[in-house]
Symmetry: D2
């Protein structure tokens, strides 16, 4: 973002202004009040920088391995190339450039090699948000000072702190299928009732401590059909703020979605821009996954009735990074 | 690599010249002859672009999941930052830059966010080589034309073709420990006998079809102690050419190492620069992992005597990429 | 451009298809026939890589210095930032990132510094096209083989070959003002008659050997008013093919414009995509300047009646580069 | 610079520690005391962000044009490629990557194009320092708050504020030639006496108001002979602190040099790291040019006895940039 953009207040709020839309239900709770209730600060010690991924205990990880029963793998990353969902207004799509192709090389043995570079916003595509990605009132998760995030990177709560993860039992809840639509409309707030209804529809699959929850809104399908980054980014269906408590009560370890910001946009009445990010990341210490491609996985789950699986989604070890591209593997 | 560098024949051969060192044993077989013997072309169909990762069948993947018995995770990626092992002569270390830190942001709600960019050679750190990374005689793996690799990327055998992987049973063979050294010397060719002796020392751990083999030379430890990129890159201990047949006979699915090029450098008498890459990647269709950090994993295996584990190492889905950074998770 | 884009024929032709628009006048001459007539190959020796900038002789440069009579400077570069005219479909806008801001620095003396990086397509904004930028029939300007341009850069006719330039006498011809419009419509082909009429309207200003010609279409003004990259890139007014001979007859040294491709798009009946580029760059050896901001300069020339000036527009010395960003200075 | 590097206090001070060398003469004045004496704040108004380039008045610019008497051009930029003087410890060399080469393109007309990208620290090679590049005590030049420099760029005193420049009369003083050496040794502080002696040796060439002063130490020649970035960066001969007053008294508009930091390193007794930068940039508002190649120009001046010329060195218009690559043209 250039100085000019910063000066006129642009940024992630483009198309998602810092005000509520009218007539969409009861005003939601103030995010600070909710955050104070759900806060996990100190739960894993004063020095903890991992948050809810601590909930993936050895026992739970062992049990998760047992979910590999059919030997099927689904890769949930979206392609990293110039045809991605970024418009350039806030982030650009990745730029992939070859530095060698094998042509014109001087090795007498016949050896030829190709090599390449990538330039990308770390959150351009399928990604994990580091716990340092979002914060408020001068504090990061676990009370670390916001000043720990500098131009040199995040000194606290950076994505490399999650490097020995993120893997465990995961459950997919397909909210678009629940409602019988290809995709939910932008501005549709997913409720705790939706999550529970989806569980019931999906054979009563349980969501419990240490699980990674994946929520399908269909927003990726919309992009695949329309190939319209501006439409993809203009708003989205996503988690409503009431889901924060639902995730906290069940001690979910991480949550991922197929939209670009996990949470509903425009935000709910009484809410603020990225209020759910602030509660989940900064107060609860929950790592968020965004822009996942859940299409093939959801079709398979619908077909075999198995909505739980082993998920392995290691972030890159970007020192001080506030996000990481990821290509999660769902293994059944 | 600039035009000027190409003109003087520079490139990956720096410090590893295209000629053999004297007096290091019997000359090895011509790599073309060996490649013709070990070739896997057509084995998984004329259109196959995945090669030996096809050997990770559903059954083997299910069995691999059962290796998660203690709930321990080891992340094998090296940090992606400016302090990595690259000298800049061939590749640079990753450059991580913040585009937002939370400071000076205009959101009245108090929302603050941090965001970042990465610029990196895809093989700057821990990495998978795509099957399009290395080739000779105008053909890639499975006979695809070398012309499929252009300035726009690899049209065949690119790393995104491995996206629904790479995960399965893995075995670590610690050759440095076998020889009782912190690290093997540069130019030390690991032999099939070394691999078998390591297996015997490690409780007779089996290496078989569909397995991912990790080989520890100690070269990463050297770098961690010395922090000298030039010394790390000047040569290395690594697989000798005879290991190619050993890997082929056992139908290993992929192989990784803690050095920067997997194979011994300077190369063995009678060999050529990157001869083993050419046989493994182009003829056998084997994906190679390089610059892994096997230190903590090896220490743990030595302690508990368990040298097999579940490995999950999904490459990023870089469209047309000839490599991918990776942070593999070894899970016991 | 990704492999996928290359495969479907995308690229610079987006919005400017490889076919003629109907009913826009007589078909123009085949570009190859015209190119053969106007060709400057061999004129400055078989090894020449500079082309028509050779026409800026010492005598002409001395005379050009005498045009600095009022001490006024106009900078013709457009800002390099994320708000530029690129849509991302072919090229992206420059990305400027800070690596240091002065905050959190450890120097006890109080020393603070800021530092920054830029990632940009070399032709993202105001630019010079190198003579290696465009070619056909396997030959670059002066008959150099097209194969001299590789993934490592341009081995011939690269932009650093123009490093000891580009400076000399320049003349602005304002075609939008000639026609009394803010900007010419997309698809408007500027003719030799337009150029001569503009000269007459502008006090009979001469255009002769060694001059740098700047042509104003108003297309930059359109962008400044609309801030619509897609509209800016969808087509443009520009030089018609007949202007090639006009430039050749006068021995113009270089030509610049305020649109993004100098030449009219969609192209004239009988023409081809970038036909004028091919004749000017590859046959005549003429360096082209694009996306210049001529607004303030044109207003000043209109006011004082002086349409000639000293122009200094040194390209960056990018080894092997096929273009360079530039911030030309017009000094009266 | 990564978070890890920041934590251990690394940065531009590498090889140039924040302490004085012993026994090199009398301690110099405290830089704050000197800065307060030489300060130009308010001289061109409270809003001025250009500093001493304001001294290049229209009259002086007209006179400068008259210095173009022989029609000779010297390009003073160093090549932008991977073989530059950067070691990677603080900044990297530019990375130039092709995005198109003309191969495999689908245009039926025969049209072929090449295109390229550059990733570079803006001060990787020949460069202008913006006035926002260096500061102390929470204030930039002219008293602007240091907080104007954020992760989004410099809100004040950025390099694009110098866009309508930098051009005018320039004088080269060859201090290496004065002392009859190929290059001065690292740590050699150039004195006002050196500058005056050089003027006398060079026919009494005057340095006065609005002039751009170029100082040759021979440090570029050293690099061209040795091609050793670490040796180039380890220290350097350069301006001693007493030259600040000399420049101020003569109202020099800008100063450039052939070393990497203009000023002597290690710094003089009593000095601090980058003390001269702080006085020149932050207090005097002087734009500094670094890593210029003065070799051919100096040889020509020695031959014809003409040490004054027209210099045109427009920075790129990087919005909010704190530096810019530049390829200055010296025209005699």
């Amino acid at each position: 973002m250039s100085a000019a953009e910063a000066a006129d207040g642009a940024g992630p709020g483009r198309g998602a202004p810092d005000r509520a839309e009218p007539d969409r239900g009861e005003p939601i709770e103030d995010f600070r009040t909710l955050g104070a209730k759900l806060r996990n600060w100190g739960r894993w010690g004063a020095d903890d920088e991992r948050g809810t991924t601590n909930l993936i205990t050895p026992e739970r990880l062992i049990a998760a391995g047992r979910l590999i029963r059919q030997g099927k793998i689904f890769d949930l990353g979206i392609p990293l190339d110039g045809n991605g969902p970024q418009t350039g207004a806030f982030r650009i799509n990745p730029v992939h450039l070859m530095s060698a192709t094998g042509a014109e090389q001087p090795f007498p043995s016949g050896f030829r090699y190709a090599d390449d570079y990538l330039f990308l916003p770390l959150q351009a595509g399928s990604q994990w948000d580091a716990l340092a990605h979002v914060f408020y009132d001068d504090q990061l998760y676990n009370g670390f000072p916001a000043g720990a995030v500098t131009v040199a990177g995040a000194g606290r709560c950076s994505i490399d702190g999650q490097a020995a993860g993120i893997a465990g039992r995961a459950v997919l809840l397909d909210i678009a299928a629940l409602h019988g639509v290809e995709w939910l409309a932008a501005g549709t707030a997913i409720t705790p009732d939706d999550l529970d209804a989806a569980r019931r529809r999906q054979g009563g699959v349980a969501v419990g401590p240490g699980d990674i929850l994946l929520v399908r809104t269909g927003w990726r399908r919309k992009f695949l059909q329309e190939r319209d980054p501006a439409a993809f980014m203009a708003g989205e269906p996503g988690l409503g703020q009431a889901c924060c408590a639902w995730l906290r009560e069940r001690d979910v370890a991480a949550v991922g979605c197929d939209n670009w910001a996990l949470e509903v946009l425009p935000f709910e009445p009484g809410g603020v821009f990225m209020g759910i990010h602030m509660v989940l990341i900064r107060d609860m210490g929950m790592t968020l996954g965004e822009m996942l491609d859940l299409e093939a996985l959801a079709a398979d789950c619908e077909a075999d009735g198995v909505w739980e699986f082993f998920l392995s989604a290691p972030p890159l070890k970007v020192t001080g990074g506030v996000g990481s591209p990821v290509n999660p593997l769902a293994i059944k």
